[in-house]
Symmetry: C2
Subunit: 422 residues, 2 copies
Amino acid sequence: MEAIANIKDYVLDTARRARRAALKLSRIDTATKNNALRFMIQLLQNRADEIKEKNQIDLQNGKKAGLSSAMLDRLELNDKRIAGMIEALETLIELEDPSGRVDREWKRPNGMTIKKLRVPIGVIGIIYESRPNVTVDAASLCLKTGNATILRGGKEALHSNKVLTDLFREALMQAGIPQDAIQLIETIDREAVSVLLKQHETIDLIIPRGGEGLIRHVVENSTIPVIKHYKGVCHLYADKELDENMAERVIINAKVQRPGVCNALETLLVHQDLKDTFLPRICSALHSHGVEIHGDAITCKKDPQALLATEEDWYAEYLDLILAVRVVKNLDEALDHIETYGSRHSDGILTTNPQTADTFLMAVDSAAVFHNVSTRFTDGGQFGMGAEIGVSTDKLHARGPMGLEELTSYKYVVTGSGQIRE
Amino acid sequence: MEAIANIKDYVLDTARRARRAALKLSRIDTATKNNALRFMIQLLQNRADEIKEKNQIDLQNGKKAGLSSAMLDRLELNDKRIAGMIEALETLIELEDPSGRVDREWKRPNGMTIKKLRVPIGVIGIIYESRPNVTVDAASLCLKTGNATILRGGKEALHSNKVLTDLFREALMQAGIPQDAIQLIETIDREAVSVLLKQHETIDLIIPRGGEGLIRHVVENSTIPVIKHYKGVCHLYADKELDENMAERVIINAKVQRPGVCNALETLLVHQDLKDTFLPRICSALHSHGVEIHGDAITCKKDPQALLATEEDWYAEYLDLILAVRVVKNLDEALDHIETYGSRHSDGILTTNPQTADTFLMAVDSAAVFHNVSTRFTDGGQFGMGAEIGVSTDKLHARGPMGLEELTSYKYVVTGSGQIRE
């Protein structure tokens, strides 16, 4: 790839071209956008060898640079992963495009009509780490909703991201959509991110996807709105009024089914009345699933295999077969714990008492709160959104799983017959 | 007022107390919040002398500091303004509280139910300039929707803001609501703002209200989401297919009725086919209303009183009886002008052709777009929202006039009977 002489000018130019493309894209109909997605499917099918070839360069560079085998695995684009991208595009084509929908329409006493019209957000910057399939996933969701995308992937995946972006731009051209609707920042220079994060005149939203370090860097340096979640320290609280069988099933599922993701359980809070009954039972069940327990003093007394938890354990997002377990006096102590150590992502209560459940569901300030359901359901697909660009723990604009709807904004369209203000 | 020894600790403590109050406030019912508003009305009535006394200190300091008479006028709290605050509170009590409303509820194939529940945003920081009535307006809108408020007013209004905040905190106490739901930053040290703008762990939203300089400073230094508008450079485009009488009425209203506000007209674009007919007519009508015209070469040729516009005129938010006027070749040139120089606030078209209107309304990327209606209607009251905390030119979270609904977020409440993820 050619060297870029002036990073600042390059990023400014990219952002300006994205803004121009976004203005055109906002007026392009859903059928045309779906055509572009279909062309992209064809290109992914016909040019798979080219994709794998470019990916090999990244993989070889990665090996030389000493990337871990887990990192190399995330980086790899094989036939199965290309098929996965195609499948996601096929699903996306079927989904309703929220852009252009009238959410509400009303008439004012003076006769003018106000419509609240759903429109694309505009230009969205995606800053992500190594998985190159994010390139296609993120760009396609943005395209479907009429947004222009500026992609900035990890340096390890530069050649893979470049070939995928080039193919997507080819698909755009085939469909008659401005190619600048999808652009990749083609330099690994970190200055590019610094400049990008200050373009609030042309870029409307930044979505960072990656580790907590990346996300904190973006939040602390961006003048553009950012939607993100730092981490998912998800809790379940086992109340004294409990269906033990159901509680065990839900806790095991939330911890064990896929421990490496943000909606997996990280801390279990148990009411003190259960310390001689449910507590030893659930600890034993967790161990039988290979889970290591970091417990408070009472838990360690009841479960000799448990390790004594430190203060850091209550903050930990293990993303592994480890669970922090704490015995609490009552609901209020559980709520305090979640408020102090939680990440406002996904937290649930296990109880047969609907009043207790209601208090918990109202009091916990998280994007998704659960009663007698596994936290693993915080997910666009599981919520019925069809696709997901991420999960937000922010309060503003979008909270929880973000689907197509959450990639749109609105504008007010006012029509009349010469109304003036008195 | 006492000096504050450590600004950073003071602001951190304020933000933490606001967060704690917000968690409690989110569970307080509408009747209790309305009670607090009623107690505040009583206090404003019974303690008006105290308010005016404290306001006198600010006014005298302001005179000594050489504030302009316009500034001193904005700063003054007299009986009429106190009555205005009371009236706004009375209106607010009658409005529906959106917090706690279920926006959508659906059942998933596995039997679990998902509710999208409207909730308060949390802690909102308001940073504003001299008008002390903002203290009561902003805090009361936030309170009604269940948000805690941190107020940071201008240094000229410190004593006025302090007495109003103290009264509001008294009203909260009378209603049994945590007093820390409304707090004032009681120092004029600018470090307090710098620290405040970095508290993204405890503060959910910053709303700056004031001049463009203040707003840019906030955007560039905040790690917390900011909702704002920089300025309102509002346009009307007079199309070649025109009802001249209606167009004149709307243009005069948009420019003249209240020129000092953000939704007033600042630039008129006229189709070239009208240069010998409507253009001289509207210029003459504008002059008869005392409007000075800064026009392009053609306008100056047709209107000898017009001054020749410079590039700066197209960017200008005059907030005065001055109007920029430009002749354009066609709709596309009008759209380009608005995209280049506009502020994405409020822009309209005057035409009898519905297709032309439709193209304009879709293409202009502004919070509110108008067809044959004055731009002066971009306003929460005029839109039927009942109250307004400001107008947003942002795309995210809220766009256009922001009422009570826009001061809320949502959370997902999932209930089930032991559902686990397969």
